[in-house]
């Protein structure tokens, strides 16, 4: 019984972390899949959103839910401006230029946040209702983790519906699978990409805010977790909502379990796992045909 409780609480913790990874990374997977754009600044949008959310709660007295919406809107708006002004010029450019642009953006984001609010970690004060523990019958667990899991599931279901059942979702899927063909059919790829980019960055902002409680929130955030976001996308496949969902859960649980039982070599194991996986399936575990 004790063992069962242990396993359950570990799974819950891992799944909660996985949900945050999913919320942040899904936009990255879609933008990379659509345009093949190497966006290393994606974590920067998660950080910006996190900062807006924490500021809104701690200083402007907003509720958690309202702050999350605000973070989504502001980050999405900022990302649209950057996309139109900067990203759109480099869609057909060499990878190196895309890497340089986005690394540059990360630096600018880190420096601006440091200038405005200093280098310290920004603590997220959860509302009272989300603190403490909740009794799930088998096991008592932190309320916030359960809320995270529920939020993640809701968002995943919403995204799945939007992806599989709406016109825009169908257009995105078509463009990911074959961009030229989709363009010949009259789909406006540039507009589609702007929408996807904004939504993806907004989601990253939500992830930044929701995950701030255990990932922390300081100016180094975009670089610290960049490799994790990229691994989730690489394992899940480019332009795949469901793939990224499973990959994020897998990495989240794996990371949680390994940190507990193999605190020394856990991270190394994940890197090794990713390398082997990508060599076996360059398109990712859940990705479609290699391109």
């Amino acid at each position: 019984m004790i063992f069962g409780v242990d396993v359950a609480s570990m799974l819950l913790g891992g799944v909660a972390a996985g949900m945050v990874l999913f919320i942040v990374s899904v936009g990255l997977s879609l933008t990379m899949g659509l345009m093949g754009f190497v966006n290393l600044a994606h974590g920067g949008f998660a950080m910006l959103g996190g900062y807006v959310i924490v500021q809104a709660m701690n200083h402007w007295g907003m509720g958690f839910a309202v702050a999350l919406v605000l973070g989504f809107v502001i980050t999405a708006a900022v990302s649209v401006v950057l996309e139109r002004l900067l990203y759109s010029r480099l869609y057909r450019a060499a990878e190196l230029d895309q890497v340089l642009l986005t690394v540059g953006l990360v630096f600018v984001m880190i420096a601006s946040v440091t200038l405005l609010l200093g280098p310290e970690n920004q603590p997220l004060r959860l509302p009272l209702a989300l603190q403490g523990q909740i009794d799930l019958g088998i096991v008592k667990y932190r309320t916030y983790s359960i809320v995270l899991i529920a939020t993640g599931l809701l968002l995943a279901a919403g995204l799945w519906l939007a992806f599989e059942r709406t016109q825009i979702g169908a257009q995105i899927r078509a463009a990911v699978d074959n961009r030229r063909m989709a363009e010949s059919l009259g789909i406006n790829i540039a507009r589609l990409f702007t929408i996807t980019f904004a939504a993806g960055s907004g989601l990253a902002a939500l992830g930044g805010g929701l995950g701030a409680e255990f990932l922390g929130l300081d100016p180094q955030y975009p670089l610290k977790y960049l490799v994790y976001f990229l691994i989730v996308v690489a394992v899940g496949g480019l332009g795949r909502v469901t793939g990224v969902f499973y990959a994020a859960l897998l990495i989240g649980v794996l990371d949680f379990v390994l940190k507990k039982y193999l605190p020394q070599g856990g991270t190394a194991f994940i890197y090794g796992f990713t390398i082997l996986l990508l060599l076996w399936r360059p398109q990712g575990l859940f990705g479609g045909q290699a391109r």
């Binding site: 990878e95 190196l96 890497v99 880190i110 490799v227 991270t267 190394a268 890197y271 990713t274 990508l278």
Partner: protein, 347 residues
């Protein structure tokens, strides 16, 4: 001696450029003259100069894979770290502390890592390759962290004992005159090697692979073998840079393997101009002097400026400082003579 090309061909500007571009020009002595001038005139800045020369060497090794073979990698520090730790561990364990042979061992170790990873990684391209280079480096960093019995873990290895060069010239961390000249000599040797390599038929085929992979396959070039060989050679040079860094500073830490170092060298090369050999020199000099004087006084402002600079380079100056200079010179020449000169892309 290559047979002389048929006359007539050489009258065309493009052919002239192609036939003569491997020749050593007068201005190519400038960086070396400056390096010696720094030694004579500014003995106070020799520590900075040593760091600068090592950075040039590291950037030069990246230029080989990135600028010539077109392999975009985010994990080049893996080889720098492999070389640094080879020197550090061998000396710390009392196994080997002679500097020159130590560098050869560092090169061999880094080349082995490069060959091993290159054989598997270079089957992929694009984003997957970028991810794999990043993960390989992260894996090495974790491994170095785990093997703290040998590597010192997070704290690294300090006071690495290095025997005097040729048994006579000691490495003094406070007055790095020996280090400076030693690094300069090693840089010169490596540069001569890389310069010869990129103008050889092998180097030409690398450029071909960068420009048009499909066509190189179609003409029957052994693409993967060439790429792996280039990757291994570049890894060996990066290993030398890492090894010499460990010798000059007498310490090694996890930072030699980190994303920071890999990103910095990429930025330096992009700043100077990739695929041009001297981009490594210009980029390292510009970046290192700016960061040396600005990053300590205004660390945040430095990062902001660097970020903006990168955005500008990515958008407007694809080939860095040297690319801009070349385009300007090209425009000027055309204005003066009124005839279109050879396109600046030809190099």
């Amino acid at each position: 001696m290559t047979p002389a090309p048929p006359s007539g061909v050489l009258n065309r500007p493009a052919a002239l450029v192609l036939a003569g571009r491997h020749r050593i020009r007068l201005w190519e002595t400038v960086p070396w003259t400056l390096a010696i001038a720094l030694y004579v005139a500014f003995p106070k800045y020799l520590a900075f100069g040593t760091e600068l020369l090592i950075t040039i060497l590291f950037a030069l090794s990246l230029d080989l894979v990135l600028g010539y073979a077109g392999i975009v990698t985010l994990g080049h520090a893996a080889f720098f770290g492999a070389g640094a730790y080879t020197v550090g561990i061998l000396a710390k364990q009392g196994l080997w502390s002679e500097p020159i042979t130590g560098l050869l061992l560092a090169a061999a170790m880094a080349a082995a890592v490069g060959l091993g990873s290159g054989l598997v990684l270079l089957r992929t391209r694009g984003l997957t390759l970028l991810m794999l280079t990043l993960c390989t480096m992260a894996l090495l960093e974790e491994a170095a962290n785990l093997a703290h019995v040998y590597t010192g873990g997070f704290d690294g290895l300090d006071s690495v004992p290095i025997t005097p060069l040729f048994g006579r010239f000691e490495f003094n961390p406070l007055y790095p005159t020996t280090q400076y000249l030693y690094v300069l000599a090693v840089l010169f040797a490596c540069f001569a090697f890389v310069r010869t390599l990129v103008y050889s038929p092998f180097g030409q085929s690398l450029t071909g692979i960068r420009e048009n992979l499909l066509r190189m396959r179609a003409v029957g070039a052994p693409v993967r073998t060439r790429l792996v060989l280039c990757y291994t050679l570049s890894a060996a040079i990066a290993g030398i840079a890492g090894g010499i860094w460990a010798q000059a500073n007498a310490y090694v830490n996890l930072g030699t393997l980190g994303l920071d170092r890999a990103a910095t060298v990429l930025i330096i090369l992009a700043l100077g101009g990739h695929g041009r050999l001297y981009g490594a020199f210009i980029g390292a000099a510009a970046y290192m002097s700016l960061s040396h004087f600005l990053s300590k006084v205004y660390p945040t402002g430095w990062q902001l400026g660097l970020g903006l600079l990168l955005v500008v380079i990515a958008l407007f100056a694809n080939n860095g400082i040297l690319g801009v200079v070349e385009t300007l010179a090209h425009t000027l020449r055309r204005r003066r003579t009124g005839t279109p000169a050879s396109p600046p892309g030809l190099r």
